[in-house]
Symmetry: C2
Subunit: 270 residues, 2 copies
């Protein structure tokens, strides 16, 4: 069973693949998020795993947006605890460090730590990938921020630990598929909708869930990209789309939405 993820071997996304599918899965690295969606769409793999939000840095915007382009479903979610360490080549001392490489999300999660030092910050496409860069290019005045696993994998040194702004640092991943998951009794549903342009529309739309005791776990807004300052809303709520209360809420939502897209229902993990 092949499952795609973005990044290099040792990336947090790869850990998410193992955590969700177990150790018999074959994780397949991709250069970017679009490749993950594309590989599932074209049936090159059974599933893809993408980060959707982090507990410090917030949403992974590009993945929210890709759900508009691709007609794929969400069949699951999984959270991975991130434990960033500062990684260098073995011959590099802490005081040699002049530049730090990592994925922009990881750099953002360690912003307070990084601001204490006068290092130059260089964004890279992946956490594990940044370890690979400083190893392959033999950058002895550089460090990378990634997981301990990535340090081990590339035989590199751990120069500092616990460098995130907050030790409670989790990323939530979604599992991409062609189908969502049947009800389990403890499910979540993800949808996108665009609210009609009238006062109070968002309030009334949320009321269709609240009045049916459907708890929202997440609301995110993203620009429509077609008209400036108009937004699509992404909702995650408790319940399965086949439950009566959810069917009714989703039908009632149509009154307030110019478009809706159900991304799928899946077992609730967080």
């Amino acid at each position: 069973m092949k499952v795609t993820y973005q990044g290099e071997t040792g990336a947090y996304s790869e850990m998410a693949v193992y955590k969700f599918f177990g150790n018999k899965v074959e994780p397949v690295p991709c250069k970017d998020f679009r490749d993950v969606f594309e590989s599932v769409k074209n049936n090159q793999v059974s599933n893809g795993v993408i980060p959707i939000e982090n507990s410090i840095e917030g949403s992974v915007n590009q993945n929210y947006d890709l759900f508009l382009t691709y007609d794929l479903k969400v069949c699951g979610e999984v959270a991975v605890k991130l434990a960033h360490v500062l990684i260098t080549n073995p011959q590099t001392k802490f005081e040699d460090i002049k530049t730090v490489y990592s994925h922009p999300q990881a750099l953002g999660q360690c912003r307070n730590y990084l601001e204490k030092h006068k290092w130059e910050i260089i964004p890279a496409y992946d956490t594990a990938g940044s370890v690979k860069i400083i190893k392959e290019k033999q950058l002895f005045n550089a460090a990378a921020i990634a997981s301990e696993k990535a340090a081990d994998l590339y035989n590199m040194n751990i120069t500092a630990r616990d460098i995130a702004d907050n030790p409670s640092n989790y990323t939530r991943f979604l599992i991409l598929s062609h189908e969502d998951t049947p009800p389990t009794g403890d499910d979540k549903t993800s949808i996108i909708f665009s609210a009609k342009h009238a006062p109070g529309t968002l309030y009334h739309a949320l009321g269709e869930f609240s009045s049916r005791n459907i708890n929202l776990t997440r609301i995110e807004s993203r620009p429509t990209k077609t008209t400036a300052w108009q937004y699509n809303f992404y909702l995650d709520f408790e319940g399965h789309r086949t439950e009566k209360r959810c069917i009714e809420a989703l039908q009632a939502l149509e009154k307030y939405a110019t478009f809706t897209k159900i991304l799928g229902s899946y077992p609730r993990v967080i």
Copy 2:
């Protein structure tokens, strides 16, 4: 009159400074957004200008978060139309380009264009700064994405125009100050609040605005960073915080919020 902004001369933020304050202002470049907040806090300048959201890429997360750390007010807003061009050294031909430098937001706004080519993407701290990089380092196989003004300023070539995913590409900037602005009759107010952890809280909170015919222009959620999967909400709404309906709504909001922070009221521009 000195006003700070993040980036290099020729940055879109600098255009926002001129658009809001006119041509007699002295724009002062800063390395990062925190420096802009810091310079206003310490009275080194009268105001700072920060990007808060883009009509294609969405929120500038770090600036949302910095409002929690700094007790500064918003006294105005301004929108700048972004017209990205692809910039190279004069001797570089289009087919020579192998890497493209720019700010991650600008790279995101041109994502579709960039994905058509096989260029390596290198994030930089600023759009105009990326032009400076390829000029100073004499990178003849590289291009930068920035404004036409930045190309002129650094005497560089424009190799392609209209490269954003959508021609309707605007960034909204907020003006930082120690005080907000008195009522003008057409105002907007920005607040942050953290909803109590109970079902339907966000719905009921929004209801306090809707029931008083206060139109929301923007809702954004950001992680609290203290507890995973809990969020602060950022609301922009029409009206001045000294108007009766707004005073009442903000008082009623307290029932549903564990904390609220009024960032300020200012003349509505968009």
